[in-house]
Symmetry: C2
Subunit: 334 residues, 2 copies
Amino acid sequence: MVSIADVARDAGVSSSTVSYVLSGKRSISSETQRRVEASIHRLGYHPHAGARALASSRTSVLALIMPLRTDIDVPVLMGFVNSVVTTARNYDYDVLLLTNDEGPAGLRRVADSAMADALLLMDVEDEDSRVPVLQSLSCPGVLIGLPNDPGDLSCVDLDFSAAAKRCVRHLADLGHEQVALIGPSPVVYERGTSFAGRFLRGFTSAARERGLHATSQACLPSYEGVRDCLDRILTEQPRLTGLVVHNEAVLDPLLSELHSRDMRIPEDISVVAVTPDEMAANRSVPLTTVSLPSEDIGRIAVEMTMRELQGVRSPEVRLLSPRLTPARSTAQRH
Amino acid sequence: MVSIADVARDAGVSSSTVSYVLSGKRSISSETQRRVEASIHRLGYHPHAGARALASSRTSVLALIMPLRTDIDVPVLMGFVNSVVTTARNYDYDVLLLTNDEGPAGLRRVADSAMADALLLMDVEDEDSRVPVLQSLSCPGVLIGLPNDPGDLSCVDLDFSAAAKRCVRHLADLGHEQVALIGPSPVVYERGTSFAGRFLRGFTSAARERGLHATSQACLPSYEGVRDCLDRILTEQPRLTGLVVHNEAVLDPLLSELHSRDMRIPEDISVVAVTPDEMAANRSVPLTTVSLPSEDIGRIAVEMTMRELQGVRSPEVRLLSPRLTPARSTAQRH
DNA sequence: TTGAAAGCGGTACCAA
DNA sequence: TTGGTACCGCTTTCAA
């Protein structure tokens, strides 16, 4: 292994000089600088991460805690992960990926053993037991999602309440009076997943505000689930003309089910969905969507973390404004 | 921060004794053992990862290198990641997640700076430039996938060649004589992605072996892509009765396109697909599938790594046998 | 069965 | 502008 001492010897300087060349924390004559850099390059020197962490109390690692669920939207999750890792590298950070199956104790383990400089949590619940633990830790934490009480933690997420309102108003503006929400799986609601509740409340309140008749149903991610869900909705609202879908996994089954019930889109029923941009275009019908910008959210989460790590303590709840892109799946009510 | 010295003081022993209690590398009187463990628990002690890495030259971290692509099967990728992380934790390892956008230099950086004890690569290409680099590194590497020349690296993957043969023989056994393969995106072939070529060769060779008329087409993951692909295939084989689909992303579009062309499954055409188990059931038609066991593959990759880390140097290419599950989408040719 | 102490490879303070 | 060195927290050898 090439150590800093090897570089120092090769360049004919002391090891502290090498260290300072690397960190830029004191001025170096350009001649020395050049020689040291040449030696570093020639020897292929990479500072030992553990030694550096020990001496500096900084790891240049972010810990990302990922849900280990099957009921979750995989492409969205992957979008977060990708964008967190990519953005972190732009700041010279690496990412340690943890699953949630150690629970709050996992957070403590990682922080207390100084494996990371900060923790990012995904899949936040309304009353998330990890939140108080995270606050008690010495290292910064940032949430992707919004719990009931974020305390002094920074959060970033799509403004799901505003997103739901945007969907409802879009349908209302098109003259629809009977609308329904197809939501995530029942389990997602049951465990108090933050975004699901916020969307539902936004939906309900916007519908009331515009005087629409509105119902909502959780929906299992299967063809059968979609059929049941539609049955229940249509029983209650036989004259339904507008659907808001907050469940990426059921979109294909839903479109196919509507087709086989001879409910034409948009002539008989308008559909607006929440989904990542990449997935919106490629459907049997081009969908009007509110986009779920997982890339942006991941990037912002890292940027917030970086600010905290630079000592700027300004906890912030950042809810991104929804953007609705109209397409053929929504139209004026006939 | 609670250090080993704090624990030692609290328990009235030396810090080396604490270390040995933790590692179990020498015998300890049960009384001492008890006191030390009590102190550890009471103080909430976690060894400093960096210090430990520095002193022991072991990090208890695996580096997992992930492709940063949009043309890849996200659920499969996520299956690998999940199972690698989960299995690693069972061995008391954590996982550092890297993207491939640093290229081979990224591998060198991680290994040389001693951030991980071993590297796992995903999305391996036939002639993968990372493979020689990985071999030149001091730390073990395991491939998820199979390059043309794995050298002395261990590899694990589904036996895609056998999987293709399994599909073809299934159709042949049902009396089909005109079969076609719908493969991944053209780019996947172009960059020499290992599994795509192996599947294609297996398909061709099994078809020849059974005297079937067979063609194959790469397929863009969109409705339009599927239409084009079907057009090309049916032009060449108007009497096609069997389809093998090796492209998870186009399954829904394909089923819907076949439906709108009035090609009934399985009366007019039989369909067999390669896809993760979780995804097979929930289609408009229950699909006959060869399953892509991403969980198993990830787990085995970690187990191989663990063996290498314990000094057992027995490079091994492990290709998992395909398992075909018949369902309604394939039937005797009419 | 246990303790003392020499590193591991950096960082950053104190001197020069 | 640079060098010397104490120290970060742990592992492991050597001695008792």
